[in-house]
């Protein structure tokens, strides 16, 4: 059944699953997973180059027409994140950035103060900013007000696979959002990707759940279907929850 495209900053995407490239065991497996996910946008990190190093992941993405979305992973301050975003823009000739400013290695939770500061600076510098944020409706609103093109709240901490810890917060973010909401981080399996979409998210971004699964291409397929199932369920409108049973067959005369 047809669905509207995902629109971020005026750009249309047929796929509502954004697959990160981190954690894949090999380039071949990553390629199969990306294709199975049918993703059109994928995150990449910006790192120091070694002598003679090739840009393998970029060649792979270019071959399949998948748009790279540079991130600022590993940045701890607004200043670091802004410079990394500018380097990503220079390297990839894109003004889009997945903005990550994390507070510490143990939780990898966003540092809200540095995040908002970096978002404001990057919006002023002409970037299309997609911030990885806490599942805090107030912070999400502040980021959207600052001019971010989407907000990307976490379901649970990066790489934990704990799913969506606070579904009500995600629903509150969705209900207020003037920009697309992308559930980013914490997804462990396909039912959780479906739940994100049922809660009203516009898209799901995940990496670890696919790249570290026993069979990454198959999990990528599962995530693609999960996102589609959740999206259809959201659009179809679920029945209200009832306390007592309600017969679905007609009563006998």
């Amino acid at each position: 059944m047809a669905d509207d495209p995902l629109v971020i900053a005026g750009r249309e995407f047929g796929s509502r699953l954004i697959l990160g490239t981190g954690g894949a065991g090999s380039m071949a497996l990553l390629e199969q997973a990306l294709l199975a996910a049918q993703t059109e946008l994928t995150t990449v990190a910006i790192r120091r180059m070694d002598t003679g190093e090739r840009t393998g992941v970029l060649d792979l993405l270019a071959r399949h027409g998948i748009e790279p979305l540079p991130n600022t992973a590993g940045c701890r301050s607004a200043a670091e994140a802004v410079l990394t975003a500018q380097l990503g823009r220079e390297a990839l000739a894109t003004s889009w950035v997945k903005l990550e400013v994390v507070a510490d290695d143990r939780t990898l939770l966003p540092d809200p103060i540095e995040l908002l500061d970096a978002a404001e600076q990057l919006v002023d510098d002409g970037f299309t900013v997609l911030p990885y944020t806490n599942d805090d409706p107030v912070l999400a609103r502040r980021l959207a007000d600052a001019g971010c093109a989407a907000v990307m709240p976490l379901g649970s901490p990066i790489g934990t696979g704990l799913g969506i810890g606070n579904p009500h917060n995600i629903e509150m973010i969705v209900s207020e959002a003037q920009v697309p909401v992308v559930l980013d981080a914490g997804i462990g399996t396909a039912s959780e990707a479906a739940l994100a979409m049922e809660l009203g998210c516009d898209a799901v971004l995940l990496a670890t759940a696919v790249t570290r699964a026993d069979d990454p291409p198959r999990m990528a397929e599962a995530m693609r279907l999960g996102v589609q199932a959740g999206r259809h369920a959201r659009l179809a409108g679920r029945i209200p929850r009832r306390f007592w049973a309600q017969a679905s067959s007609p009563a006998r005369d």
């Binding site: 990449v44 990190a45 790192r47 840009t55 992941v57």
Partner: protein
């Protein structure tokens, strides 16, 4: 002159430019970004941007992540 390239000490002839660093690193020219002393050096300026003695140079690209 001494410069620090991706955390390593390099000795380069006086007058070397950002482009010379990239040539010595033998990396592709696309998909790459350069920062000197914490500021981006745009691709169009690589050939005519001299290195400052003691400069901190970062050469970066996109890798799997996130």
């Amino acid at each position: 002159m001494n410069v620090l390239v991706n955390g390593e000490q390099w000795v380069l002839p006086a007058g070397s430019t950002v482009a010379d660093v990239l040539e010595r690193l033998a990396v592709p020219s696309t998909g790459v970004a350069v920062a000197m002393d914490g500021a981006v050096v745009p691709r169009a300026s690589w050939l005519r941007t001299p290195l400052r003695p003691g400069a901190l140079i970062e050469v970066l690209t996109a890798v799997q992540g996130g």
